[in-house]
């Protein structure tokens, strides 16, 4: 193995080694902070490795047999290093590192065994996410895809004694699993048609136009379903807001920066295949844009700071998907990267706030800027980036997406996305104004957190700015739309900010009154009820699935088994009835003999010869 192979393998292997160490060596895990140190050291080393790989910037693929079969392996595992993967490697290791450092302080009240468990899961997550990023084949991607889902499940349920956390964890798992059904069916079908899972082979086939498989559209649609679940696209987005039951650093890492973007990454990775099925692409675009808008409306009415951010994540994932659907996956991917930075920043900032005031409710916060200025600054930086304010990172990537969608002649999605720009600015600044400005906090003496929490915040804030500047200077964004686009989007963002300012800072506009006026009242009503989707799923689960299962259970116990018991009971009863011929009267016994003789005669005459 040369360095181009072992370096990525090392990046992958370090968190894995850390995970195994923590999982197996129980005393180390139970020590808590020591476990954290091991995990952080591993991810830090992985980060360095990732930066090294990125800076060299080579492309390399290596695979090994995983599931053998007679004529060549059924499935392989390996690493695929290319610019796409490199960028992701850096993002994942960086955010992981920062989050893990941040968690040390954030979770310092936890019992050591719990903390050890946390870091064990963190290491597992880092490994899984890196494995997903480095996947050279659909099957490996699916494997790690499921593993990150597992980590998500475990970390959402980290505070498992809370019923809400327990419920949110299984909800997240089930909903994403629903999408994964499509994914697995899709790749099984693809394998059956092409005999391979490997991107390299599939892309080559696609390039030679040799992938004229019957039902490729269906296959790609099914594979896309996986992304719908994982990247929280409508209608499977309902798990992500609930996932906020997990610790905030987890939300930052898994449910904002990395795992939820796996769907986007996958669609980007498999772009050559999706490109063959324009119908599916269009669908992806429409669904993405719709998701973006829908989530933004829900974010506007949410009062839990983390849930606002969660809806914003859903919304931004919609952007990325829309870009991918519009044939501009690089724009989507760029947004993935920038969003990873500033959304992690926002979540960690929100974490600092929650940590300080002990509540998630933005209406019970206020005036925190004075108490925690550093947090306030970085949070506002993140907010501006998310709102798409130049020259921060978010502006350029969002602009590129809008341009891409416009160029693809997808007017409907474009309008939805443009409207979302306004809404994004509105709901984010709603949070900023309610949290950091305005009335004084209800209780406590909030203050800026310790340096272990502050440092990651600053690093991310700095990166958000730097990447933005880099994008402003360079010509990275491939898509430049028409000239009116940038002013439009900035104007929309400003409009949103102004509205938020007027409503929540100045009090000029009464939010209740605004929500009561006609077009908004409908949206407000629906958005507050989350468009009934949660209710729908709950209804399907309880009303359909569980009832149906009870029916089947009843059938099994009382019909299928009932027939059996019926037969055996009748056998018993039959014996009981039959023994009445044994009347006890001697002459009846002689009748038996006579009957027997008669029987023999009749039988011998009638038996077919």
């Amino acid at each position: 193995m040369d360095a181009t192979v072992w370096l990525p393998v090392l990046v992958l292997g370090l968190p894995f080694a850390s995970f195994v160490l923590l999982a197996v060596v129980a005393p180390l895990r139970r020590a808590g902070r020591a476990a954290g140190a091991v995990s952080i050291a591993a991810i830090a080393a992985a980060f360095l490795g990732a930066v090294l790989v990125w800076s060299v910037g080579f492309t390399r693929e290596a695979t090994w047999t995983w599931i053998p079969a007679d004529d060549g392996p059924t499935a392989t595992v390996g690493v695929l290093v290319d610019p796409l993967a490199n960028a992701m490697l850096v993002l994942v290791t960086l955010v992981s590192l920062l989050v893990q450092i941040y968690s040390l302080a954030y979770l310092h009240d936890e019992r050591p065994p719990s903390l050890g468990r946390y870091y064990t899961f963190q290491s597992l997550f880092a490994f899984s996410m890196l494995g997903l990023v480095l996947s050279p084949s659909f099957i490996q991607m699916f494997v790690f895809w499921e593993l990150v889902g597992l980590c998500s499940y475990l970390l959402i349920g980290y505070w498992y004694a809370r019923p809400t956390a327990a419920r949110a964890a299984v909800k997240a798992f089930w909903i994403t699993k629903l999408g994964d059904l499509g994914f697995v069916i899709g790749i099984v079908m693809l394998w059956a048609a092409t005999d391979t899972f490997e991107f390299r082979v599939l892309f080559a086939l696609a390039q030679e136009h040799a992938l004229a498989i019957e039902g490729l559209g269906t296959i790609m649609f099914l594979i896309y379903l996986g992304a719908v679940g994982k990247s929280a696209q409508f209608p499977l987005h309902v798990w992500l807001p609930d996932a906020m039951e997990g610790p905030t650093p987890v939300s930052a890492l898994i449910h904002a920066a990395t795992m939820v973007t796996a769907g986007v990454f996958m669609v980007t990775r498999a772009q050559p295949l999706f490109a063959l099925v324009p119908d599916v692409l269009a669908l992806i675009g429409w669904v993405g844009a719709f998701t973006a808008l829908l989530a933004a409306t829900m974010a506007c009415v949410e009062s839990d700071i983390k849930r606002v951010l969660a809806y914003s994540t859903v919304s931004q994932l919609g952007y990325m998907m829309a870009a991918a659907g519009a044939g501009a996956p690089d724009a989507g991917f760029l947004h993935l990267l920038t969003h990873g930075l500033f959304k992690a920043l926002l979540f960690l900032g929100a974490g600092a706030v929650i940590h300080a005031v002990g509540t998630n409710d933005i209406f019970r916060m206020g005036g925190l800027f004075r108490a925690m200025p550093q947090t306030g600054v970085v949070f506002i930086v993140g907010t501006l980036a998310l709102a798409g304010f130049p020259p921060l990172a978010g502006f350029f990537s969002k602009e590129a997406i809008l341009a891409g969608v416009w160029e693809a002649d997808m007017t409907g999605p474009f309008l939805m996305l443009a409207l979302t720009v306004l809404l994004t600015a509105f709901y984010m600044f709603r949070v900023v104004f309610l949290t950091f400005f305005g009335r004084a906090p209800a209780a406590g003496h909030p203050h800026d957190p310790s340096w272990t929490m502050r440092a990651p915040l600053w690093v991310l804030a700095a990166l958000t700015v730097l990447v933005g500047l880099r994008l402003a200077l360079g010509d990275v964004g491939a898509h430049h739309g028409p000239g009116w686009l940038a002013p439009l989007s900035v104007a929309a963002a400003l409009g949103g900010i102004a509205l938020a300012w007027a409503t929540y800072q100045r009090g000029v506009v009464d939010p209740g009154g605004l929500a009561a006026t006609f077009p908004f009242s409908v949206v407000d009503l629906l958005a507050r009820r989350r468009y009934g989707l949660d209710t729908l799923y709950a209804g399907l689960y309880r009303g359909f699935l569980l009832s149906f299962s009870r029916l089947i259970g009843w059938i099994d116990r009382y019909l299928v088994d009932g027939v059996l018991n019926f037969l055996s009971a009748w056998t018993l009863r039959g014996g009981d009835l039959l023994r009445h011929i044994q009347s006890g009267h001697a002459q009846d016994y002689v009748y038996g003999v006579a009957f027997g003789v008669l029987l023999l005669f009749v039988w011998s005459q009638w038996w077919p010869r």
Binding site: I67, F144, A161, S549, Y558, N565, L572
Partner: protein, 508 residues
């Protein structure tokens, strides 16, 4: 002369049973140590077998043959190919873990272990026997001790008779351990009646000269014979494999059985049914298999979905696990029914994976029951905080059960799915995949209810697993993960057996 390693593996537990019966009276520790030692011998033997098995050669290895009744063509003929190799390993692992998992059996432990070990000899024997007759003998040996094991050491559940057959339930005493024991034993013997008839039909039709599998393999039976005998084998072995609608012994039996017995029964004996279908049914009756594959696969799909839904409806922890076995055995049968290389490999892999997984589950349920003295899921809650080890192991089992990658369950299901879509009945893929989702729903729901959430007020003084019990859990979890991460360990040898089998069936 070489060491007859297969005989050693097979008879070592039996020797243990005899030793226990005759020497270790009223000395519980000695009983357990003998059990550990003799199953340990089997375990080491199985591992050695696994290590030195020639993965490049097809056919049966470690062959032994001693004529028993030459005029009838019965001989003590043993050998393993890739399929049985894996299952021997499975049996060794499960029983070794089972001995530790039932360490705390206090009542009449001497007889318990003796019966358990005798039963294991039967299981090993079935997997290694190449003579159909000897196969049948071992099969019966594997089934019968179950009656006493469940009847004496089992536990009764509560089922209130309802529905149109309520009177029948009262008459048969549904829910009690005696009922379960009787149902299981009679049902399986009912199945074995079909097997016996099938074996005889083959024997007679082949010229009544040999019961040897190897000899019979060389005979090509008439299509009608193949059809009917395959059906007989399918029904006979299918009962043990828990095919719908002949599965109802399984929930009652497994729920009532003591821990080690559930482990062994759900973990290994159900595989024995599937193994019988694959080995005898498909191996000897290729055209019958092709003809009836649609039936096998369709019923397997019913099993998967129906079993999962039934599991979801249960309120008794053991019943959930028992129904999950019904569901998972569907995957095994489906894989076999696809008649493809991947499907068959998946089927055999699932036999192994499910064996370990369900063994783990039953061990855990046994531990939970032992600590909490309850199987009612609704009453439990928050056990995770007091028994983290058990919770972790349960989660691992659940994950494997729902086919999460990096556990053995995933490989099995994936291969089966691949096989299903390549088979003649593509639609099988959809119920099979749906089954994984349903599984995710019920296992995680149960795990959440029991281990997560606030601590239940019904229970105090719960504790985690102790000493010997850990051995079982760690062993099983390790195997589960190891084979999930390195599936080649199992598939390489299995492939040497499935390919010739398929070559006979499909003729490529």
């Amino acid at each position: 002369m070489t060491v007859p390693v297969l005989s050693l593996i097979t008879w070592s537990p039996f020797a243990g049973a005899l030793l226990i019966m005759f020497t270790a009276r009223y000395r519980p520790l000695a009983v357990r140590l003998i059990a550990v030692a003799t199953t340990g011998v089997s375990m080491v033997g199985a591992l050695w077998l696994y290590a030195v098995y020639d993965r490049d050669a097809a056919g049966f290895q470690f062959y032994e043959k001693v004529p028993l009744v030459p005029p009838l063509g019965i001989s003590y003929e043993l050998g393993v190919d890739g399929i049985s190799l894996l299952l021997v390993l499975l049996t060794a692992v499960i029983i070794f873990a089972g001995v530790f998992a039932s360490w705390t059996v206090t009542v009449r432990s001497q007889e318990f272990y003796a019966l358990l070990l005798a039963l294991v000899t039967g299981v090993f024997g079935v997997f290694v026997a190449l003579d159909l007759f000897v196969f049948f003998l071992f099969y019966e040996l594997a089934v019968l001790p179950m009656y006493l094991l469940i009847g004496v050491w089992g536990s009764s559940g509560e089922i209130r008779p309802r529905g149109i057959f309520a009177w029948a339930y009262r008459e048969t005493g549904v829910g009690t351990k005696e009922y379960a024991a009787m149902k299981l034993t009679l049902y399986l013997l009912f199945g074995s009646a079909f097997i016996l008839v099938g074996i005889f039909a083959l024997y007679v039709n082949a010229g009544a000269s040999s019961f040897s599998f190897v000899d019979l393999e060389g005979v090509s039976f008439a299509p009608a014979v193949q059809r009917w005998v395959f059906l007989a084998f399918y029904v006979g072995f299918g009962v043990l494999a828990g095919i719908w609608p002949l599965h109802t012994w399984s929930p009652d039996g497994h729920a009532s059985a003591p821990t080690a017995v559930s482990m062994l029964h759900a973990g290994v004996l159900m595989k024995l049914g599937a193994y019988g279908v694959v080995r005898l049914g498909m191996g000897l009756l290729p055209s019958g298999a092709v003809e009836l594959a649609w039936l096998m696969g369709t019923i397997a799909c019913v099993n998967i979905v129906y079993g999962a839904l039934s599991a979801m409806a249960q309120t008794d922890l053991k019943y959930v696990i028992a129904y999950s076995s019904v569901s998972h055995m569907g995957i095994v049968m489906l894989g076999a029914a696809t008649l493809t290389e991947t499907g068959l490999n998946g089927s055999v892999f699932q036999m192994f994976a499910h064996g370990v997984m369900t063994g783990l589950f039953f061990a855990l349920v046994g531990l939970v029951y032992e600590k909490a003295h309850s199987r009612e899921i609704g009453k439990m809650g928050g056990f995770g905080a007091v028994m983290p080890g058990i919770a972790t192991a349960f989660t691992m089992g659940s994950l494997s059960s729902l086919g999460l990658p990096a556990t053995a369950g995933f490989i099995a299901e994936l291969l089966t799915f691949l096989g299903a879509w390549r088979s003649d009945h593509r639609w099988w893929l959809f119920p099979a995949v749906a089954g994984t989702f349903l599984t995710a729903v019920y296992v995680l729901r149960v795990a959440k209810q029991i281990f997560w959430g606030p601590p239940s007020p019904h229970f105090q003084h719960l504790e985690d697993a102790r000493g010997p019990e850990w051995v079982a859990l760690v062993l099983l979890v390790t195997v589960l993960v190891l084979f999930g991460m390195v599936p080649g360990l199992a598939i390489a040898p299995v492939d040497t057996a499935t390919l010739p089998l398929l070559a006979r069936i499909v003729g490529f």
